[in-house]
């Protein structure tokens, strides 16, 4: 099976029902996507499939032919960080940072469908992502900051 991940083609030997998370981490050594619960309850494994946030632990690789997958490793353009990555750094929106990949990928999906979300909309959208260290207010601030940058860049 062939998968398109971060703009590159990968030949994958896993069975079609294998989870995308297990293939990313075990077969392709793309470990930026994290295991947190394996049940779609924590958001640590969030990736983009055709630009939309998906829990990779509940997504079978067999469903992904001809789809574009993006993981945290594919977000920066060379040395230039994505505005969300930069905003997470500036707002110190992490402690242990284990949730960070999933938070950022969810937020990318949010901002692509809603470029200027209200605080309530951010909270609503991010509800499925757990941060155990309690950096939620900083994550919300980072998303707002990145949204402003992105809007300024587009205007």
């Amino acid at each position: 099976m062939k998968l398109d991940i971060n703009g590159k083609g990968f030949n994958v030997t896993a069975e079609p029902e294998a989870s995308l998370l297990s293939v990313l981490r075990e077969e392709l050594d793309l470990t930026g996507t994290k295991y947190g619960c394996g049940e779609g309850q924590c958001g640590a494994c969030t990736v983009l499939v055709d630009g939309i946030a998906r829990r990779s632990c509940l997504t079978s690789v067999g469903s992904l032919q001809d789809k574009k997958i993006m993981t945290i490793e594919g977000l920066a353009k060379g040395e230039a960080l994505h505005p969300l990555q930069q905003a997470f750094l500036e707002e110190d929106a992490m402690q242990c940072a284990y949730c960070t990949s999933g938070m950022i990928m969810s937020a990318v999906s949010l901002l692509s469908s809603k470029p200027a979300p209200s605080e309530t909309e951010i909270v609503q959208f991010m509800q499925g992502n757990i941060c155990r260290c309690g950096t939620h207010p900083r994550i919300v601030a980072a998303i707002r900051k990145a949204a402003k940058w992105l809007q300024a860049a587009h205007s």
Binding site: E27, Q95, C96, T100, R132, P137
Partner: protein, 721 residues
């Protein structure tokens, strides 16, 4: 309290934090060291017992030719290229000590943070460290590294003075260079260090830069390696990989305390490429993928038996009935002053109330994980732990090999909160790797993490008190069953006190947790204070301050009250205000909460939190604020809804869908007031800020509804109608 007494308090191990005795295991020689690091300057910091600095004799002494002192806390190496490498056995678990300790080194050594590499939690390279717990890193390791760095700076100044034949007093360290203030001559550290092989033991008396003069410490510094995390590059313990590695899976017993009756491995053994181990009660498999390992584990037919075990329905009754006999009590403590029994017997009105806290789970987002690899009888393990040296001891005991044969490495892990003290996953991975003759990685599932880790101890707390007509507390009796002695003493000034921790038989595997029992003890104490104030018809803040002399604690209560606007009128129906505060792990905290309770549904919403916190001189304001906010948010979970449900040796809510942790919608605006005491040494902040939130919320709910809640969690599913 003097600094020296404080230091002694903070190094006192807590009942649930330690399972291994303190010992030093250092036997490298200077020759080995330079072979590994290259030439340069090596500064070693002896880790003398707190308070011993002044008594151990002055002057600097070089380490003897081929041996280094046995009691070392940290060391620092300056390479010939000017690179700075610092070695400490402390572990980074998200509290951002990699950053705050780098600031300490940068400050004293006068080098940019970017030039510093911190090697942490590696038992082969770092000096022995008991573990990263008890908020000890800042009061002890930060101080240690500042002293080591100051010594390194002075050593380089000494080299420059000798080389330039000038008085060292006219030389100054600036930005990685030594500068002659008279002639403006300067040289990079690298050029001065070149060709040297100097080992310098930490001088006993070396003045440190006072916090008021700090230029790097004391300023906000974001995570030093933050870029690694936002790009997904950082490899956590569960991300480690070796060629030919297998994935392990343990076949768990049907319930706690179960013994294996029979096992049938035949079906599992038919799978190609799978290694199976049965060793006593341990059954595990290792396979080329997690999917295959899970399939194999599922094919193992095991029968277990266990005796009936209690459930959390009878938990508190069980704890009260099962107090340990005096001979098995270990570090149980009784504190008594005055004549509490007599006073309580003689007063007309006593207030006697019981408070309870359930077992809760750490639920670190990265579950326990380990990768183990054997080479002959040499074992290397990468694992997420707060006690790399403790895990090394556990491995040595489990496999009956000397500790020297074992290297434990601790890549910065996905949080811990006191939950990663033990080496369970490391031992499991190592056992499977030995059988499979290949490296094996184990990552616990979320269900395993919720079931087979240990929990914050549940507890029952009974408080009896009496006040005089003037609002002074005259007697205070406080009994804690099982949850622990941390934070059990009262900081209010009460002439008659009897305070006792009662260890009991336990119903679940229990251990350390952020703040330990201080959360339970503060919840009981600060709720009881509110009840007394209400009984006296006195304002809660006024009542506390009337009974409180400690200036630092008064200061946080007053600062928090000011920011919160304590005393203002309510602006909405169902609104309530409450406070809770105290002193823990050397830090002072006062938390104020505003809640809104819906009269119809009974739903409780926290609408605002203000926390005032003081931990001496602040090393990293942004990092500190992050910790204070995080402690409050984590504390909301334990305060409102977290509880482990269990019955007959099984956990009933071992998933995030059943065990509710705080999520975005639960988080109110949080305001933090940080009191920066540049006249006091910096202390830790990872734990103390968690203790005020539960009583603040409970007291605010009472203010809103006149319903007094004395059990944590307060409102697992709303107040009810």
């Amino acid at each position: 309290m003097t600094l020296r007494e404080e230091s002694r308090t903070v190094v006192e191990p807590e009942r649930y934090e330690l399972s291994a005795p303190s010992a030093y295991h250092f036997d490298s020689t200077r020759r080995e060291f330079f072979k590994f690091l290259g030439a340069g300057i090596l500064i070693v910091g002896s880790f003398k017992p707190a308070g011993a600095f002044q008594e151990s004799g002055g002057g600097r002494k070089a380490a003897s030719e081929d041996s280094l002192p046995k009691e070392i806390g940290a060391w620092l190496h300056i390479g010939e290229d000017g690179s700075i490498t610092v070695f400490t056995g402390k572990a980074e678990v998200g509290q951002n000590i990699r950053t705050s300790l780098s600031q300490a080194v940068s400050e004293e050594l006068k080098v940019p943070i970017s030039r510093i590499t911190m090697v942490m939690g590696d038992t082969q390279l770092c000096p022995f460290d008991m573990g990263t717990f008890g908020s000890r890193t800042t009061p002890i390791m930060n101080l240690q590294l500042r002293r080591v760095s100051a010594a390194a700076r002075d050593t380089i100044i000494g080299i420059a003075a000798a080389e330039w034949k000038v008085d060292a007093k006219q030389l100054k360290a600036v930005d990685g260079k030594i500068v002659d203030t008279k002639t403006s001559r300067s040289a990079e550290y690298a050029s001065l260090v070149k060709g040297q092989q100097i080992v310098q033991e930490l001088p006993v008396e070396d003045p440190l830069i006072p916090p008021a003069d700090w230029t790097v410490a004391g300023k906000s510094q974001s995570k030093v390696d933050g870029r690694e995390f936002v790009t997904g590059k950082h490899r956590y313990p569960s991300d480690q990989r070796l060629p030919d590695m297998l994935y392990g899976k343990v076949v768990r017993p049907a319930s706690f305390n179960a013994t294996l009756v029979s096992v049938d491995l035949k079906e599992a053994a038919k799978l190609a490429g799978v290694a199976i181990v049965q060793d006593g009660n341990f059954i595990g498999v290792a396979a080329p993928s997690t999917t295959l390992a899970e399939r194999a584990a599922g094919l193992v037919k095991a029968e277990w038996k266990s005796d009936p075990q209690p459930s959390n329905k009878e938990l508190f009754e069980y704890l009260k009935k099962n107090e340990l006999p005096a001979k098995d009590r270990g570090d149980s403590s009784v504190y008594a002053v005055g004549s509490t029994d007599k006073v309580l017997a003689s007063v007309a009105h006593r207030l006697k109330k019981s408070y309870t806290v359930e077992y809760i789970a750490h639920a670190p987002l990265e579950p326990r994980a380990a990768l183990a690899s054997w080479s002959g009888d040499q074992l290397t393990v990468w694992t997420g732990t707060q006690r790399p040296f403790g895990v090394r001891s556990e491995l040595a005991a489990a496999f009956r090999i000397p500790e020297e044969n074992i290297r434990v490495q601790m890549p910065d892990t996905g949080s811990a909160y006191g939950g990663k003290h033990t080496g369970d996953a490391a031992i499991e991975a190592a056992r499977l790797a030995r059988a499979a003759k290949r490296p094996v990685k184990i990552v616990w599932t979320r269900e395993e993490e919720f079931t087979w880790a240990y929990f914050r101890p549940a507890g029952l707390i009974e408080v009896t008190s009496a006040v005089d007509s003037d609002g002074k507390i005259i007697a205070w009796e406080f009994h804690n069953y099982n949850s622990g002695a941390a934070g059990i003493r009262t900081y209010y000034d009460i002439p008659n006190q009897k305070i006792e921790f009662h260890p009991t038989k336990t119903t679940l595997r229990q251990g350390s947790y952020r703040g330990l029992a201080a959360t339970a003890n503060h919840f009981a104490r600060e709720t009881h204070m509110d009840e007394l104030a209400h009984q006296l018809n006195m304002d809660s803040l006024e009542f506390r301050l009337k009974n409180l002399k400690d200036e630092r604690l008064r200061a946080v209560f007053e600062a928090g009250a000011k920011k919160f606007g304590w005393g203002r009128a309510k602006t909405a129906r169902g609104q309530g205000f409450g406070m809770g505060g105290g002193y823990e792990k050397l830090g002072y905290v006062a938390t104020f909460a505003e809640v809104s309770v819906d009269a119809k549904s009974g739903n409780v919403k926290i609408t605002r939190i203000v926390t005032a916190f003081e931990c001496g001189a602040i090393v990293n304001p942004q990092g500190l604020q992050n910790q204070v906010e995080g402690a409050n948010i984590m504390g909301i979970g334990g305060a409102l809804f977290e509880a482990v449900q269990f019955d007959n040796g099984r956990i009933l809510n071992a998933h995030f869908s059943e065990y509710r942790v705080p999520r975005f919608r639960d988080i109110p605006p949080i305001e933090t007031v940080m009191l920066d005491r540049k006249d006091l040494p910096p202390v830790g902040a990872g734990e103390a800020p968690i203790v005020g939130i539960a009583p603040a919320i409970g007291n605010a709910i009472f203010d809103a509804t006149k319903t007094r809640l004395r059990a944590l969690p307060l409102v697992p599913s709303g107040l009810g109608s």
